[in-house]
């Protein structure tokens, strides 16, 4: 096992730069998820760590060693690909033992390592099958088995669950997390799915347009998003964001929206009086107020069983609320909602940065 450090790493394709100088330090044994929308550079960064893409600038270290010029096979990494990349003409056993075979390991070592990995992943009964005889989830598991067999310093995962159906995806992400807890191998996992990121990561790196927007634990990102992008990207349903002007008057702070609504703020809000801001609150941080809250008209009610999503109109802006209690909302009715003041986020409307009080 080893740490991985990425220092000012850039990637250019001709004149087009797609990764603009990224710095991340991943301690030994950590499970880090790179998350972001398509085209944000997360897969490119992973492939540079893997040695499948050339590095246009900066330094990548695995352990103490700079690996910029080290070929993929000598980086002591294992990678799980989105389409699994299993060799179609090899059995599961041969697929899993292939890298050891290429490294000249003895038959007994290969047999033992394949057996160990197959046991960990419950693949023992499938060892003599060909990839085309396996289901998507089984193939996925073989791809992971192939990675485990090598006992590498670092695991790299490139959207490994995106070809699975929703139910299997949930199951596999738990398995991958459990596997990491068992093996404790440093892992870097790329996904565009923020739920996957939240549930699996020790730390999340949120990327956007080739830069890192924020690095932190899942709850850090959720509770204290550094900017509007992270606030909007993390959390489902998405955070409610309303534009307005910050007002301070004596001890009282609030945000006045253009539609004439006053949004309440806690005492420790940052920013100056008159500053253009974005007021954010998560759907689950709304309480039912009596008369004191924000008056909204209910548009759509979506019960999911565990919770109920309510989409409502707040003077022309659509907001979403999530309630775990069953209130019996009806579309068309007016109700009063109150954001929990200690959970309200405030961002500068110009820079998008979080305003800290």
């Amino acid at each position: 096992m080893a740490s991985v450090s990425v220092e000012a790493v850039r990637k250019r394709y001709g004149a087009l730069e797609v990764v603009h100088g990224i710095d991340i330090v991943i301690p030994d044994g950590e499970f880090v998820v790179l998350v972001g929308p398509s085209g944000c550079g997360k897969s490119t960064l992973l492939r540079m760590i893997a040695g499948l893409e050339e590095i246009s600038g900066g330094i990548i270290r695995i352990g103490e060693r700079v690996v910029n010029e080290v070929p993929s096979k000598d980086r002591d990494i294992a990678m799980v690909f989105q389409n699994y990349a299993l060799y179609p003409h090899m059995t599961v056993r041969e697929n899993m033992g292939f890298s050891l075979k290429l490294r000249g390991a003895g038959t007994s070592v290969i047999v033992e390592q394949v057996r160990r990995a197959a046991e960990i992943l419950s693949l023992s009964s499938l060892l003599d099958r060909y990839p085309k005889q396996l289901s998507g989830g089984q193939r996925q598991r073989v791809a992971m088995g192939r990675a485990i067999v090598r006992n590498p310093q670092v695991f790299l995962f490139d959207e490994p669950l995106s070809n699975l159906d929703a139910k299997l995806r949930v199951q596999m992400r738990t398995e991958i997390k459990a596997l990491h807890q068992k093996l404790k191998t440093t892992s870097i996992y790329v996904t565009h799915d923020q739920i996957e990121a939240m549930t699996m990561a020790d730390r999340i790196v949120v990327m956007h347009d080739g830069i890192v927007e924020q690095v932190g634990t899942p709850l850090d990102l959720y509770d204290r998003p550094a900017n509007l992008f992270v606030a909007g990207f993390i959390g489902s349903p998405a955070i409610n964001l309303l534009r307005g002007t910050l007002r301070r008057d004596g001890g009282r702070n609030w945000v006045a929206t253009d539609a004439g609504i006053d949004l309440p703020l806690g005492g420790n809000a940052g920013g100056k009086d008159g500053q253009a801001v974005v007021y954010g609150f998560r759907p689950e941080h709304l309480a039912l107020g009596n008369d004191g809250g924000l008056p909204v008209r209910v548009d759509v009610v979506e019960p999911t069983g565990a919770s109920t999503f309510v989409y409502a109109d707040l003077s022309g802006a659509q907001i979403c609320g999530v309630f775990t209690e069953r209130h019996g909302f009806h579309s068309g009715e007016t109700m009063h909602l109150m954001p929990q003041l200690d959970r309200v986020h405030l961002f500068d409307a110009g820079t998008g940065h979080r305003l800290v009080g």
Partner: protein
């Protein structure tokens, strides 16, 4: 609705065809006529012409025929295999995504795209022992006479194979290139991470993925090369002294050179016991599709 009503009407009057079936037959007629006149008739007539036992006796007692059989087997065995092996290697070069390689591939395809007669005739002139370009060069450089390229059975067959390979290599390279392009890139990346060298990637990824295509191409090329008339006829004309004939050219020699049409057709019929199993094998492979 109309079709439904017609079907019901057809059911009510058994023995009469529905309107749909009649139209179907009308549309089938042109194809049936073409098939009968252009396939069944010529093939059937050929088989009748080739069914005279005397022709077989004539063939088997003619030393030219036995030599031709040997020539054909050697030509197919050597030319087809070298051609496909080279095509497999070259497809690995042309698969690279570089602009200059794209342009080079356009030039490379030319021998296949341009007509046989002028190109093969120019080979014939180049290889002429007395005044051909090749031997003129050899003479200038060494002051020795070059070999009689086309005037000896084995060097003649060698040159025939060379011209055949030159002519058809681009086509098979293209086919195998398509096969290579169909191999998912992540298999190679996975092999990179697993630690495979270039040769190991070929051995463990490329070739297993292309094995079926390669075998099918070999079968198909064998069948097609058996019918390659141009490379032989235009280069050596089957000579000298009928020593470089193959089955494709020998039929012409009997039928038109010696006015023995039945014997000429029989030379082709002789190839059927080899050809038909190859055809069946190939069609079966193609129907089965890609199976590891």
């Amino acid at each position: 609705m109309v079709a439904v009503l017609d079907v019901q009407a057809g059911e009510k009057a058994p023995g009469r065809l529905s309107q749909e079936a009649v139209w179907g037959l009308i549309f089938l007629v042109p194809y049936i006529v073409l098939f009968l006149t252009l396939v069944i008739y010529p093939v059937g007539y050929g088989l009748i012409l080739g069914s005279n036992p005397k022709s077989y006796v004539r063939l088997w007692t003619d030393p030219v025929f036995t030599r031709t059989i040997v020539n054909t087997v050697v030509f197919l065995g050597v030319a087809v295999n070298i051609k496909l092996f080279l095509a497999l290697l070259l497809s690995g070069f042309f698969v690279h995504e570089k602009r200059w390689i794209r342009w080079l591939s356009v030039i490379f395809i030319l021998p296949w795209a341009i007509p046989s007669i002028p190109t093969i005739l120019s080979f014939r002139w180049m290889l002429n022992a007395e005044w051909g370009m090749l031997n003129s060069l050899i003479f200038r450089l060494t002051l020795e006479d070059g070999p009689n390229w086309l005037l000896d059975r084995w060097s003649g067959l060698g040159m025939i194979s060379l011209v055949h390979i030159w002519k058809y290599l681009p086509f098979w390279t293209l086919i195998l290139l398509a096969g290579r392009l169909a191999i998912p890139k992540d298999l190679y990346e996975s092999a990179d991470v697993d630690g495979a060298s270039g040769l190991q990637k070929f051995r463990y990824v490329t070739f297993p993925s292309m094995r079926n295509l390669y075998i099918t191409c070999t079968l198909l090329s064998t069948i097609m090369s058996l019918g390659d008339f141009n490379s032989i006829y235009l280069l050596t004309g089957g000579g000298p002294a009928d020593s470089t004939q193959t089955l494709a050219t020998l039929g012409i020699r009997y039928a038109f050179g010696m006015s023995e049409v039945e014997v000429g057709v029989t030379t082709v019929v002789v190839a059927l016991p080899v050809m038909l199993p190859l055809l069946v094998l190939m069609l079966r492979r193609m129907r089965k599709g890609e199976q590891p």
